[in-house]
């Protein structure tokens, strides 16, 4: 399912319709998504009602499906999306801390992955990165992933197979810090990724596994880990070490009412106050207008439209209403505005990259130093 790995182009998920046994991502709203295995005999219980799954069969991925019935007489809906690595990262069951989109994007690009590459990974963890690695090296490469935790490794292995990635990924139980990467992988890796508490212990093994000019990457939350890793890399055949940090700054987008004509706005406010005094239940001040919602779909409109936004802002206001509000003459205007999300990840970890040294073809006879270097490179 994931990674377009199913056969050739015409059969890939985007053109296929939903069938029993498919993995879908049920998108309820921007902050509520679930992975779901389609089974025609079942009913999906979501926050917007009960959904008979048999109605999903035969629909294209990305379709909106409706609940059978729901409280309040309003019919709820959800979208059923084709799974991608990014969506999977948002819905997967956390067995460990996971890597998120920004780091994943950086790792895949800076490891210079492309179809055909062989990648080593440890530990597997929740498999968030593993999926993205598989996508980047498919269909001819391979990911060898190791986790020291028995249950985690076997769960991840099962998961990869059920996602149709069995051909691309091998997950094994192994304590890489203590036992190093298996010898059969020496000189085989184009890229190698470590997310371990003591990555410096694996520097020698990484040196042996990476091909010349292959790329090493280690993810560590603490700068002390980075320090020790860089020191260990300096003692091995690595060059061009780089340490970096990357984060996503996310923005909420909403349609906010702003005063654009101060005199008019004041006038409107005075008017409203007068009216309020004269009749007790009258008067809709400009501020109340903020909670307008779009017509018939109002039940889900507000959360739906507020991708990334959480407050009941006027994000669901349709352009027609926007225009109407302007014509009211309250001196206010709707403006589409972006705001950084209030809660943001401040730090995930440091990424340290380095390249495996090569053995150049030298015109002059090799010196003593180079013999040493040969001794430590792969047999």
């Amino acid at each position: 399912m994931l990674c377009n790995s199913q056969g050739d182009v015409p059969g890939s998920p985007s053109t296929r319709t939903i069938a029993s046994g498919d993995l879908v991502i049920v998108y309820e709203r921007f902050d509520s998504m679930k992975a779901y295995d389609v089974d025609a005999s079942k009913t999906y219980h979501g926050r917007f009602g009960l959904f008979p799954v048999k109605e999903w069969i035969g629909k294209p991925f990305g379709s909106r499906v409706y609940a059978k019935s729901s409280a309040g007489g309003q019919q709820g809906w959800v979208y059923i999306l084709a799974p991608t690595c990014e969506l999977w990262t948002m819905v997967l069951r956390h067995r460990t801390q996971i890597l998120y989109a920004a780091d994943i994007a950086m790792i895949c690009t800076f490891l210079e992955l492309r179809p055909g590459c062989t990648v080593l990974e440890s530990g597997t963890g929740s498999g968030s990165l593993t999926h993205a690695l598989a996508r980047a090296i498919a269909p001819t490469g391979h990911v060898h992933s190791f986790d020291f935790h028995h249950q985690r490794a076997s769960e991840a292995d099962t998961e990869m197979k059920s996602h149709g990635l069995g051909e691309l990924v091998t997950v094994r139980q192994r304590n890489i810090e203590e036992d190093s990467f298996p010898e059969e992988l020496h000189g085989k890796a184009d890229a190698l990724f470590l997310d371990l508490p003591r990555p410096w212990k694996v520097a020698r093994s990484a040196e042996a596994c990476l091909r010349p000019d292959g790329v090493f990457c280690s993810f560590s939350p603490c700068i002390e880990q980075v320090q020790r890793t860089c020191e260990a890399l300096a003692a091995c055949l690595f060059t061009a070490p780089r340490t970096m940090e990357c984060l996503l700054r996310s923005y909420e987008v909403s349609n906010e009412k702003m005063v654009v004509d101060l005199a008019r706005a004041e006038e409107a406010l005075l008017h409203a106050r007068k009216r309020k005094r004269s009749s007790k239940d009258g008067g809709s001040g400009g501020f109340k207008g903020r909670k307008q919602k779009t017509g018939a779909d109002s039940e889900q409109a507000a959360p739906e439209a507020g991708e990334g936004a959480s407050a009941p802002t006027a994000s669901g206001v349709a352009p027609e209403q926007r225009l109407a509000a302007q014509q009211e003459g309250d001196g206010k205007e709707f403006q589409v505005l972006a705001l950084p999300t209030a809660e943001a990840r401040g730090h995930t970890g440091y990424l340290t990259f380095a390249r495996r040294l090569i053995d150049p073809v030298l015109a002059s006879p090799p010196s003593v130093a180079s013999k040493e270097a040969n001794g430590t490179s792969e047999a």
Partner: protein, 474 residues
């Protein structure tokens, strides 16, 4: 040898890791990167001088060499892993010295420019010059170990050219172009490119639609990630010819080159329209969604024409035909490219172009879509990257949306946040897409040294914004 033994993939075969005659490479000379084409017997620019690079042909990518003082002889170097000793030494350093006694003076250095020039002419080598400079410095001994090291590095960089030959990849090309020719790639930083590839779900067996105003960097990056499996459709418009300039720098093997096609966007749209005409139910649905997307004023005007299911030419007309300044048919490609991209097709103006089927250009009509692209057009593209920041993303995405398969992932790049915010809001309202995110990638590098680890002093302020989402089925 090791790489031959493992034959797991076509693109990791030994040929792509060995520098060959005719290869394009990333040349890193003392940290300054540029793009160079290796041609046997001819010279290429390294740092400030032109040298013959024949000795590096046949070497492994990642090879390092030094230039002689005459700027001619290059000597391939064995990498030394001498940083281990440096780490050990620095760990014990506890400098008591400081710079309170240092006076800034021209007299601190005993060597004159004439001395140095003489040494250069005698071709004694950069190391010898640096050693002479140290020996003749009045102040070197009094400096702290840290500033001694800095001084040494500065002088070494000045008098020796140490170069590394990097294999061209999306990563190395993006970084090189960002530091070397950022305007050519629309100031798109490497981390932002990485985000685009990830958020658009680019991978083998996909069908990717790309609008690339970054000189082919994005097209190349997508093609690299797909490795010849699937289709890369780098659509061009009359505003922007095919984006190929930097594609060739990837040294792609033939099967990857063959996977890249550059049809005019209007031809794709016309074919898509034709497909939808064959499936009337789908057509009316698509008409309804595009209606939702329109702005209020326009919506009212055009609604009547769309309710009955007929897609107006407004929706399907080629992008170029809406451009106020129409390129002349016979115009040379350069003339067309000089036309500022800032001249934007505005939605309102589309109204005036209502019945302009003739707006399609002759050259576009001649483009023959291959079977793969026809297939992609009829069933929809699975990934889409729009990296053309001078075209309003709302306008562009509206045009491109019918070409995308349901549940397709898309990512839109812009240097500016506001157009993407507007576009995101429109999509939220029209519900044409879900899982929308507006992100900016934040990136900084660190200097990691014993006792001196800190973020690098120089960093780029912004690498651009990315709007990403998943297309909802109409």
């Amino acid at each position: 040898m090791t790489e031959v033994a493992n034959g797991e993939g076509p693109s990791t075969s030994s040929s792509s890791v060995i520098i060959r005659d005719g290869d394009n490479v990333v040349m890193d000379a003392n940290g300054y990167k540029s793009l160079v084409t290796i041609k046997k017997g001819s010279k290429a620019k390294v740092g400030k001088v032109h040298v013959n690079l024949d000795p590096i042909i046949g070497q492994h990518y990642g090879v390092q060499f030094e230039l002689g003082q005459n700027g001619r002889d290059i000597s391939v170097k064995r990498h030394k892993s001498d940083r281990a000793a440096a780490w050990a030494a620095w760990k014990t350093v506890t400098s008591e010295r400081n710079n309170s006694e240092l006076q800034d003076s021209m007299m601190n250095q005993g060597l004159t420019t004439e001395h140095i020039e003489a040494m250069k002419n005698a071709n004694v080598g950069g190391e010898a010059i640096v050693n002479a400079l140290l020996a003749n410095s009045e102040t070197f001994e009094a400096k702290t170990e840290f500033s001694q090291e800095k001084y040494l590095k500065k002088k070494t960089d000045k008098y020796t050219v140490r170069a590394t030959v990097e294999r061209p990849t999306a990563r190395s090309l993006a970084e090189t172009l960002f530091s070397w020719r950022p305007e050519r790639i629309q100031y798109m930083r490497a981390d932002t490119l990485a985000m685009l590839l990830t958020m658009a779900n680019v991978g083998a067996h996909g069908r990717a639609l790309v609008l690339d105003a970054c000189g082919g960097l994005v097209t190349g990056a997508v093609a690299e990630r797909m490795g010849g499996f699937g289709q890369v459709c780098s659509a061009c418009t009359e505003l922007k010819g095919p984006a190929t300039e930097y594609v060739r720098y990837f040294n792609f093997p033939p099967e990857v080159k063959a996977s890249i096609k550059s049809p005019p966007l209007s031809v794709l749209l016309a074919y898509r329209q034709q497909c939808m005409a064959d499936a009337p139910t789908e057509e009316s649905m698509a008409g309804a969604t595009s209606q939702q997307k329109e702005d209020a004023g326009q919506n009212a005007k055009s609604a009547a024409g769309q309710v009955n299911g007929a897609l107006t030419d407004t929706d399907m007309a080629p992008l170029e035909s809406n451009s106020p300044v129409q390129p002349v048919h016979g115009a040379s490609p350069t003339q067309q490219q000089q036309q500022p991209e800032g001249v934007l097709p505005l939605p309102q103006e589309q109204q005036q172009q209502q019945d302009s089927k003739s707006g399609m250009h002759l050259s576009e009509l001649r483009y023959e879509l291959g079977p793969e692209l026809k297939q992609a057009c009829s069933s929809g593209f699975s990934s889409c990257i729009l990296a053309s920041p001078n075209i309003d993303p709302s306008v562009l995405l509206r045009r491109v949306m019918p070409l995308l398969a349901p549940s397709a992932s898309f990512a839109v790049f812009s240097n500016w946040m506001q157009p993407l915010a507007d576009c995101m809001f429109k999509l939220q309202v029209s519900k044409e897409a879900v899982a929308l995110q507006l992100n900016e990638s934040w990136w900084r590098e660190y200097q990691v040294l014993p006792g001196r680890t800190h973020p690098c002093m120089m960093t780029s302020g912004t690498g651009g914004y990315v709007l990403s989402g998943t297309k909802a089925a109409p």
